[in-house]
Amino acid sequence: MERVPILKLGDILIISIQIDLEDQSVLALQEDLAEAVVAHSARGVIIDITAVEIVDSFIGRMLATIAAMSRMLDAQTVVVGMRPAVAITLVELGLSLGGVRTALNLEKGVALLDHVRGATP
């Protein structure tokens, strides 16, 4: 089973998904992330899915679950780099990822988190 690395940048955690996610990897990722958020007392989580070409409802739910989990631990989640085809698929699946913030790329995602923290210090 491949594990997704979790990178730390200041008080932001960055997850870049570059493999085809299996169910096991997703579950492991959720656990790792929850631990990492607590360990680093992170204030933001960025999930980069630039390399993800295929999504299903399971991945869609994963994003929502991670966002909800991070919110419980007082960290904002931003999903960045979604491809057009992926966005269309999620809409057709009826998953609008309510409560998850999105940004076009990693740079804008970091800026968004900075902005949010600036507004609520």
Binding site: R83, T102, L104, K108, A119
Partner: protein
């Protein structure tokens, strides 16, 4: 095939072979086509009949070519198929001279074959036409969905004409791809040119907006005319928290405000002063 039919058929084939010159001359007279085309066709037909009459690929190929070239010259498909049917008339004169029962019976068989071939030219014509129409529809689709840049970080899609699923799909894909390419964070979908909005069109628009939002861009729908606003409310369509504006100018002002741009007139009067909190 019964023995009688077989004999009749052979008789016709024989007549076709022996009277080639006469039939061809007559056929050319009836159809006004060039003798070369008809000779080629005639010989291909003879060859096909010699080899058992099942393999008509050559004949069909020639017919397709004939049908295409005549369509280019402005002939109607009826005229083209009538040219093929002319062969029956030309052959009939030979059969009449012969007068035998076999020849007459064979003529029925032959005329059925020619009918098929004549209809085939019609089909070729229709297929060619359909292809042209499909190509044009595709080109129209591409022409009618431009994504324009209004400002740094703001793009707009002016929609003109009726929206259906296929078109919305193209618009959506193009808009999302532009968002990726330009890194724009604001998009305006302008529906001033859309003649009518029903539940389906609204559904399509909502999908586009949600997809753009998933990618991290904000979408504003503008150009909602009074009647359309009325229709949307009457139909009970919920646009939820999607921002809608009456005109493209309002939408642009909104997008500028959201991206923190300040606009001022030469005299220094600021139009948009405040940056809204995201």
């Amino acid at each position: 095939m019964t023995v009688d039919a077989d004999v009749a058929r052979r008789r016709i084939e024989e007549l076709l072979r022996t009277n080639e010159e006469q039939i061809l001359r007559r056929w050319t007279l009836i159809t006004k086509a060039t003798p070369e085309e008809l000779t080629d066709l005639y010989q291909a037909l003879n060859r096909a009949l010699d080899s058992g009459g099942e393999d008509l690929a050559d004949v069909r190929g020639l017919l397709a070519e004939l049908s295409r070239s005549r369509a280019r010259q402005g002939f109607t498909p009826s005229e083209t198929s009538r040219a093929v049917f002319g062969l029956k008339e030309a052959l009939y004169e030979v059969v009449e001279e012969d007068g035998g029962a076999d020849a007459l019976r064979g003529f029925i068989w032959f005329s059925r074959l020619i009918d098929d071939l004549g209809l085939f030219t019609f089909e070729t014509y229709a297929t060619a036409r359909e292809k042209i129409i499909l190509d044009q529809a595709e080109q129209l689709l591409e022409l009618s969905t431009p994504v324009v840049k209004l400002w740094e970080g703001i793009v707009a899609v002016p929609l003109v004409g009726t929206l259906d699923s296929a078109r919305t799909q193209v618009v959506m894909e193009k808009l999302l791809q532009t968002l990726v390419d330009t890194g724009a964070e604001h998009a305006v979908i302008d529906i001033t040119g859309v003649p009518a909005v029903d539940t389906q069109v609204a559904q399509h628009l909502l999908k586009a907006v949600v997809a753009a939002r998933l990618m991290g861009a904000e979408c504003v729908i503008s150009g909602i005319r009074p009647q359309i606003a009325h229709t949307i409310v009457t139909l009970g369509i919920e646009f939820g928290d999607i921002v809608t504006k009456a005109s493209l100018a309002d939408a642009l002002a909104h997008a500028l405000r959201r991206s923190g741009v300040q606009v001022s007139t030469p005299r220094g009067t600021r139009i948009s002063v405040r940056t809204e909190d995201a």
